[in-house]
């Protein structure tokens, strides 16, 4: 029976390809479907780099534990800690592996991998290949998968769209139904395990830094089949992008990692050329507010500061939109070309200005979904993962897995820069041995389920045929998509309020109704991109609703989710005793808020396609949650009060600040 077993991977970005490559090595037969030739996946857009502790930072006091700590602290403690710990432990070996696969990482004069600094850490932890690191990593994995494809272990089905999972009567996943984007053939693929690796859902916001395939439709179709969707409301808005009529193009955090400075003129909408504005008339607001991290504060904070300086202080470079300068002009050209060439060319090509000599005008843009399909894990005795457990990365549907950006596992309420490439490759590598073990216990191969497959295929064929027969005169799907994007961008990005979220929810429900009745301008059955887009638009609504309802219910501020009404501002009193009392009160409130809101939001769909929310506890057993104090007024006193409390509370004397002492040294090889 084992010879009939196959695994289906949906998506060929970093996560899907690393899973395919590792499964092939472990002897599994793999099918992989992708909307595009896998080499064109969205991972190519990742620019800055990939994080791990390394030889150099280790000697400066860094460790896997500190990488783990930065990740959960930057993520406002919303992620389960065992998978994150395991990821940080694997990180150095993952980068070694990618190095062996030929990724042209930048080098030091001695020939070792070079590193730069990224947001949310004080260490130079980020390995990089110019400013196209995602592209370089993807190509190395693509080349490996091509090798397995030639060897017959991986079958690539490129330009296929995943329509949904096939579940048996017991609710176990037995395969998928997919559609060929060229011939429009709908076909069931039996699979003994299915791995969704379909990336983010930025297109729900209309324009974002994401690629055209990032509609979230695969995750949504899995959600609609009954899988739980977690932390939908946590959407990262990247502080630095450039706007276009079709998309918002990313300007990597690595620009700041290499010394780029963010500023606005102190005079509102100063008409002078930026280069002519003298130093003392520039407001380097990130450096002033965050002397420790400077321009490399976590992304949620940088984005909110840009919003604040533009909206509340009225200092936007351009009136009516959030725009600040990102300045590289003080840095040597040769260095810029060697380390940031890729993004500078993008700016030059699309804006027609050389960012080596003129400060870039940049804007915040929707960038990453921290939330995604809920997935399980099995915790080991040392606090990491039991590698090889079939529970790792499994969704709430048996035998159906999710990895990469479409899972919710690694980034909590805010992702740190250069951790996404890591989480994609890690989740791809770690899912493989678990599936090997899952299949060992399987009784019957999915390939024998011919009736189940035929019925599922017929159901999707029927849906497709009905769509093509829609009468004319309904709404235009492309215009509906623009409207949805506008509503979501207005209500559910940097700053959120309950009134705006309520209003947006009503509007999204109306648009959803219109989408159910929208008309196609192409009713043919050959390479019909109109019907494929309409299907993905339809599937944006369940996730859009989960985002809005999750945000509406969460009355607090955590990472990327910010409601001013529930913000905890810094301390005001100048009198030391009063200052101390304020700090005590601040910590009380923090504790209450943690007890109430340090929970995973779980969205499910009920029988009427209504989104229902519930909450699950977060495993914070390794590093106790502590206040996130980046740049807060009174941070030192709050920190002091907090530590005193923790010490008196904790019997074993371990707290967030010295928790690293308990990190067990890891020597196990990557599996």
């Amino acid at each position: 029976m084992a010879d009939k077993q196959r695994v289906m991977i949906v998506g060929g970005g970093l996560a899907g390809l690393s899973a395919a490559m590792r499964m092939a090595e472990l002897g599994l037969d793999v099918d992989l479907i992708s909307l595009t030739p896998v080499k064109r996946s969205h991972s190519v857009c990742a620019q800055g780099g990939i994080n791990s502790v390394n030889q150099l930072t280790r000697q400066q006091g860094d460790s896997e534990w500190l990488h783990f700590d930065d990740t959960v602290y930057g993520g406002a403690f919303l992620q389960h800690q065992p998978p994150v710990k395991e990821m940080a432990d694997w990180a150095p070996r993952i980068i070694d592996l990618m190095d062996r696969l030929g990724v042209p990482f930048n080098r030091t004069p001695e020939g070792f991998r070079d590193q730069r600094r990224f947001g949310g850490t004080l260490f130079k932890r980020t390995a990089f290949a110019g400013a196209t690191t995602g592209q370089q990593l993807l190509y190395a994995l693509d080349d490996q998968v091509r090798r397995w494809s030639v060897a017959g272990k991986v079958s690539l089905h490129e330009t296929w769209d995943y329509l949904g999972p096939v579940l048996d009567d017991a609710g176990t996943c037995r395969g998928i139904v997919a559609q060929d984007l060229v011939t429009m053939e709908i076909r069931a693929f039996p699979a003994d395990a299915v791995v969704i690796a379909s990336g983010g859902c930025g297109l729900i916001y209309g324009r974002s830094t994401m690629s055209m395939v990032c509609t979230g439709s695969a995750a949504s179709r899995t959600f609609q089949a009954g899988a739980k969707y977690a932390n939908a409301e946590f959407i990262q808005v990247h502080p630095t992008a450039i706007p276009g009529a079709d998309k918002l193009r990313l300007m990597s955090e690595s620009a700041r990692g290499e010394g780029g400075r963010v500023w606005v003129p102190r005079t509102p909408q100063d008409k002078r050329r930026p280069i002519d504005i003298p130093e003392d008339e520039r407001y380097y607001f990130l450096e002033e507010c965050y002397p420790e991290y400077g321009n490399l504060v976590p992304r949620d904070i940088a984005t909110r500061e840009i919003f604040n300086v533009c909206t509340n202080e009225g200092l936007s470079v351009e009136q009516d939109r959030l725009c600040v300068y990102l300045d590289l002009t003080h840095l040597p050209r040769e260095m810029l070309d060697a380390k940031l060439g890729g993004i500078l060319e993008i700016y030059e090509k699309f804006q027609g200005v050389d960012p080596r000599s003129v400060p870039m005008k940049i804007f915040p843009a929707v960038h990453y979904s921290m939330g995604g399909l809920w997935v399980d894990y099995e915790k080991s005795a040392s606090g990491g993962l039991v590698v090889g457990s079939p529970r790792n990365q499994q969704t709430s549907i048996p035998n159906l897995y999710a990895i990469g950006e479409c899972d919710y596992q690694y980034h909590g309420a805010n992702r740190l820069g250069a951790n996404s490439l890591l989480s994609c490759i890690f989740s791809g590598l770690v899912v493989a041995p678990g599936i090997v073990n899952l299949l060992k216990g399987a009784k019957q191969a999915a390939a024998d389920e011919t009736q189940l497959m035929a019925a599922a295929q017929a159901r999707y064929q029927d849906d497709h045929d009905r769509l093509l027969r829609r009468p004319a005169g309904g709404a235009n799907p492309y215009l509906l998509h623009q409207q949805l994007g506008n509503v979501m961008t207005k209500a559910a990005t940097v700053v959120r309020s309950n009134d705006a979220l309520d209003e947006a929810y009503g509007q999204v429900c109306q648009l959803n109704e219109q989408a159910r009745r929208c008309s196609l301008s192409d009713t043919g059955n050959w390479t019909n991109q109109n019907v494929v887009f309409t299907k993905s638009l339809r599937d944006m609504f369940p996730i859009a609703k989960a985002i809005l309802l999750g945000a509406r219910a969460r009355d607090e501020c955590r990472g990327a989710h910010f409601k001013p009404e529930f913000a905890m501002p810094g301390l005001e009193a100048t009198d030391p005793a009063e200052h101390r009392r304020e700090a005590e009160a601040w910590c009380d409130r923090f504790e209450q808020n943690t007890a109430k809101w340090l929970k995973t939001t779980i969205a499910t769909l009920d029988g009427d396609d209504e989104v229902k929310l519930s909450y699950e506890e977060v495993d914070t057993s390794l590093i106790p949650p502590r206040p996130r104090l980046y740049g807060l007024v009174g941070a030192e006193v709050i920190d002091e009060v907090w530590k005193t409390r923790q010490q008196s509370k904790s019997a074993d004397g371990r707290d967030g600040a010295d928790g690293r002492a308990s990190a067990a040294p890891k020597t196990a090889a990557a599996h």
Partner: protein, 284 residues
Amino acid sequence: MSEPHTNGHAGERTFEVRILRQDSPRTASYWERHRVRYEPDMNVTSVLQRIAAQGETIDGDPVAPVAYESNCLEEVCGSCTMIINGRVRQACSALVDKLLADRPHEIELQPMSKFPVVRDLFVDRRRLFRALEKVHAWLPVDGYYDLGPGPQRSQEDQQRAYPLSECMSCGCCLDACPQYAHVEVERKAGETDEQFRARQNAIFDVNFVGAHAISQAVYYNAHPTGKLNAGERVDALMEAGGVQVCGNAQNCVAVCPKEIPLTTSIARAGRQATKRIFTQWFDQ
């Protein structure tokens, strides 16, 4: 820059787009005209998005959206390659302001010429990826267990390799190449997917591999690990359709959007092939 055309409606600035459409692989192509309202920061991708949303031609005839591939929209994925005003390039980085400055009032779009048209501007570039298989464009590593870091490399070595690794397999170099002929393999009745693919690959393999694949072979041959089996790649480049087919027109390097030194790669591949012939000859 010349101002885009202003037509009747309230001084609205518009321009015309002429598109060579084709409904399916075996039907005839035809030109279709559209009028698009000018907006700042437009590129050809956003023009195609507007045309899809409009759903009608310049004459008001309802039409299906134009089929084309697109993904990253920042010229790193290679999807949206097409012929724009006579030049093969990516739609995303083709800015409307610049196009209208060069040719006022009108933009002309055609599918790539060397690949079979699937529909409209969407072509089948499978042959391009097959060429990467043919030249063994990968490192045959021992496996994916932890075996330590990769080989140390000099900065100079990395700086030389990196540009070659930016190749996004878009196919511009192939479309512009006089030696890269259009190859279209029709599926026979009763042929399975596997049979068709095998026959198609056999035909692809005797035709020119193209500059992109030669450059990828050279890229991996220069890697310290890749050097260990460089002979395999050089052998592939010496078969029918190999590096000897290059006629040195140098169009490839002129159209490459990533400015990859393709002719340098071809010259290096040629030298590697010559060296291999001599080595094999002396070894006999």
